[in-house]
């Protein structure tokens, strides 16, 4: 019985006996003695090795600098604090001597710890019942570079980095408007992860902004590791196969979405922004679309949308055809098909599963491996397995073609998450096709469609502008019309103002008038 009890309790053990002793006392005030203060801080931080102190003297008073050498910057400490202090002559208040942009005075000893973690330097003076906080934090950040997974051919090659300030800077640089508004929140009781909600005050719907804030405030967790955590906390339906927040590492994409009245969420330590509310079609739009000509980008849009259908349906369609309805295939195509499936020992469903799983294995293996080895895996997996599987009559030629086309189609989607969703949905579709043929495929499609129409992203119908239908928003969905024809913002983001463009080609009218 004890075994089952443990299992049902998820192996939860009582942890009270192992809980560590905490040295923090509520409302601890600064003591006049430096030694006492330093000892208290050292105890509160459990004598961490990166806590450093340095003795100074100012105006004849003995003082001590205390900081974490892993978050504070030595050069800044030297420039802003030590050098000015050593050069001062005569009585001057500390605020005037120190050249750092921010010097604050405080007396709550418990706050010292938080400030030090943020990279600030604390200065205690003998006999003074307060301390100074001086900004001197170190910034170690990656260069702004093109996102690895969202490359474009033309257009900006900037991408977000892991630093929140830099990321907001990248957006501010693009939208020099006083309406661009940033709100900070701190989530994670231990990690204290900083998050920023960014939106256009005059465009974004206040209800959406409020809803985002409400959902963020209700996060009650010890740690927030990644935007994936935030996504799962905020999303309406986590177990839906479709992502309801757009994940991007491109500032220009964020800018475009902000200008449509959407809200971006960025967090410290992660180079990706989450955009809400989004629709299904947003995942098939690429920044490249707006850099190339309307006809060209419309063509690529169409290809991308058809790739969705191909990735979702091609294997199941093929399975249904060769196991139920081969009459629909023209004779000229049927006989080659028949000869290729003639000696395959598995039922079509199993054959397709086998290949799909192999492809997923190759893909998953390829991601983890260093790139030179990754290529080898591609060749070994793709060519060798493909070729010899056919020769050994384990799978048919055409099945390999179908699975390969499907795999390529699923990588066409500009968004990685959506590609994953399509890949996952393919498997139930294949099972349905293998069991019920076209009837199964139709049932599966119907279920997916029902789900898509029911889904909402922060109050926006996920499948708009198709359902509910709005012709004007179709201008930038399956095709992309010229920019000067997109006079109105898409209504799905619920913006405060719809109009975004008037007649920007007045030069054409003027030229006619001159004649």
């Amino acid at each position: 019985m004890g075994f089952f009890k443990k299992m049902l309790n998820n192996n939860r053990r009582s942890l009270t006996s192992q809980r560590a002793k905490d040295f923090i006392h509520e409302g601890q005030k600064v003591s006049p003695s430096i030694e006492e203060n330093v000892a208290y801080i050292q105890d509160a931080m459990f004598h961490t090795a990166d806590l450093k102190t340095r003795e100074i003297s100012f105006n004849g008073k003995r003082g001590v600098l205390i900081f974490l050498n892993t978050t504070a910057d030595f050069t800044k400490i030297e420039q802003c604090i030590l050098t000015p202090l050593s050069r001062t002559t005569g009585e001057k208040p500390l605020e005037e001597v120190i050249t750092s942009p921010s010097v604050e005075k405080n007396d709550d000893l418990n706050k010292v710890i938080k400030e030090m973690i943020h990279g600030r330097v604390i200065i205690f003076f003998e006999g003074m019942k307060a301390y100074y906080v001086v900004k001197a934090y170190a910034i170690y950040k990656r260069e702004v570079s093109e996102p690895y997974n969202e490359k474009v051919i033309r257009g900006s090659h900037e991408g977000f980095v892991e630093n929140l300030i830099v990321n907001i800077h990248l957006i501010r640089k693009r939208i020099e408007s006083r309406h661009l508004s940033v709100k900070y929140h701190t989530v994670g009781k231990d990690t204290k992860t900083k998050m920023a909600i960014i939106y256009m005050q005059n465009l974004a719907n206040p209800d959406v902004v409020q809803e985002v804030e409400r959902r963020i405030l209700s996060i009650d967790a010890d740690s927030i590791l990644s935007p994936g955590f935030v996504e799962e906390y905020l999303e309406g339906r986590t177990y839906s196969p479709f992502p309801q927040m757009l994940n991007t590492e491109r500032p220009d994409r964020v800018m475009g979405n902000l200008m449509e009245g959407r809200v971006a969420i960025i967090m410290e330590g992660s180079p990706s922004a989450l955009i809400v509310p989004v629709t299904f079609s947003a995942f098939y739009q690429s920044p490249d679309d707006y850099n190339s000509r309307p006809l060209v980008s419309s063509f690529f849009r169409l290809i991308r949308f058809s790739s969705f259908l191909a990735a979702l349906l091609l294997p199941s369609f093929y399975i249904a055809v060769i196991s139920f309805h081969y009459e629909v295939v023209p004779s000229a195509l049927l006989f080659p098909m028949k000869s290729s499936v003639e000696y395959v020992p598995f039922p079509p469903l199993m054959e397709a599963f086998l290949l799909e799983v192999i492809i997923e294995l190759i893909r998953e293996g390829g991601i983890r491996l260093p790139s030179p080895v990754g290529q080898t895996i591609g060749i070994v997996g793709g060519l060798v397995i493909g070729q010899s599987a056919v020769q050994a009559a384990l799978v048919s030629n055409i099945m390999i073609i179908v699975v390969a086309v499907t795999a390529i189609s699923s990588f066409v989607v500009p968004s990685n998450e959506m590609g994953g969703s399509v890949r996952i949905l393919r498997f139930p579709m294949m099972v349905l096709a293998g069991l019920f043929g076209f009837l199964g495929i139709m049932t599966g499609l119907l279920l997916i469609l029902i789900h898509l129409t029911r889904l909402e992203s922060f109050g926006t119908p996920y499948f708009s502008p198709a359902i509910p239908f709005r012709l004007k928003d179709m201008k930038d969905t399956i095709v992309r019309l010229a920019v000067w024809q997109l006079n109105e913002r898409p209504v799905d983001a619920q913006p405060q103002r719809l109009n975004q463009e008037r007649y920007s080609r007045g030069w054409k009218r003027n030229a006619k008038r001159k004649k």
């Binding site: 055809v321 060769i322 196991s323 139920f324 309805h325 081969y326 009459e327 004779s331 049927l334 006989f335 080659p336 098909m337 028949k338 000869s339 290729s340 499936v341 003639e342 000696y343 395959v344 039922p347 079509p348 069991l435 043929g437």
Partner: protein, 383 residues
Amino acid sequence: MKRIIQLILSLFLFLTLTGCWDLNLLRDARMAVIVGLDRTPEGKLLSTSVIREVKITEGGEEATNLILKSTGHTPRETQDNGDRRLNNRYDISKNRVILLGEKLAREDIYPVLDILYRDPKSALNAHIAVTKGRAEHLLDLDTAGDTLIGEYVDELINSAEEKTLVPIENVQSICPVLFDPGQDFAIPYITIEKGDLQAAGIDNEKDVSVEGIAMFHGHHMTGTLNREESRLFLMMADKLNKTSRLTIQVDPGKSDDIDSYITIDMGTLKRKLDIRFNPKGEIHVDLNLDMNVEVVEYPDDKLAESTVLHRLDKKLSESITHQSEQVIKKMKRSRFDGFGIGREIMAHSPEEWHGAKWWTKTYPKVKFHPKVNVHIVGHGIIS
């Protein structure tokens, strides 16, 4: 929790209780591409199916035929008897051609076709044709040149349709006509005899060719039209496909000289069909045909002169009108109402329609007045 249990249960039921599972694996099908049906001397039905086999060899794929013959009292029994001798499931869903032996075609053909209309998976877009003699003999050829017989006959009929040699018909399209007393259908008539080549003293292999059409009345085949007659019939029935080509002797004086013949391609065709009833109870049909033609061969030339053109226009009009009359005579003899005159009467003057039996007797008495007007509008790129 309840929902999860429901979900698992339904998934389990899906996988186990599949019910009447109509799995129909391509791998297990043996597909017939052409089927011939004959009446044996004993009165049984003989079915000859050509089944396509594809073998994978080092050099690629190689297609061969498997000829399966079986007999029985009904088509279904015949098919089942064949299936018994076949390693996998016999399948006619991708059949391209159904060939009827002439003897069988002259009987009621509907009982033979019934099985095709009843089965949802049968190939309704297959061609249907009549063979002179027995269909079995044609299929026994196995190949024509390097092409497999099934493919060959299919393409043969396709190209004949394109050149308006035979009407475009398939198993589905003849079905409503079979049951319509007011119109009749015609299907290709295929021979495997040595034909005109042997007459010219050339001893060649047996060759398959479309020799015109088989005319039907109701459910029975009642006669044939040869190639020239068939072309004219289709012209009069306003069924011009891509093109139609006629070779006509315009100067009989120069007998058998190439110069005396002209070959024309039909450009556009306008047909007008009027049905008149006179007080005596006679039915008159005016058939006016306006043809714009292009000369594709005329060694005598001088086509640039308008007098020559006018003479040829007139000669051609006369000649084609005369030939049309001969064709109509033949059609009436076979009681073959290929123009659907009966249907016209039913639709436009129902008071004159007195039932199917009346029509069978009346149709041969209908007076046709064909009138053909030919205009030469082109003569190739030489002038």
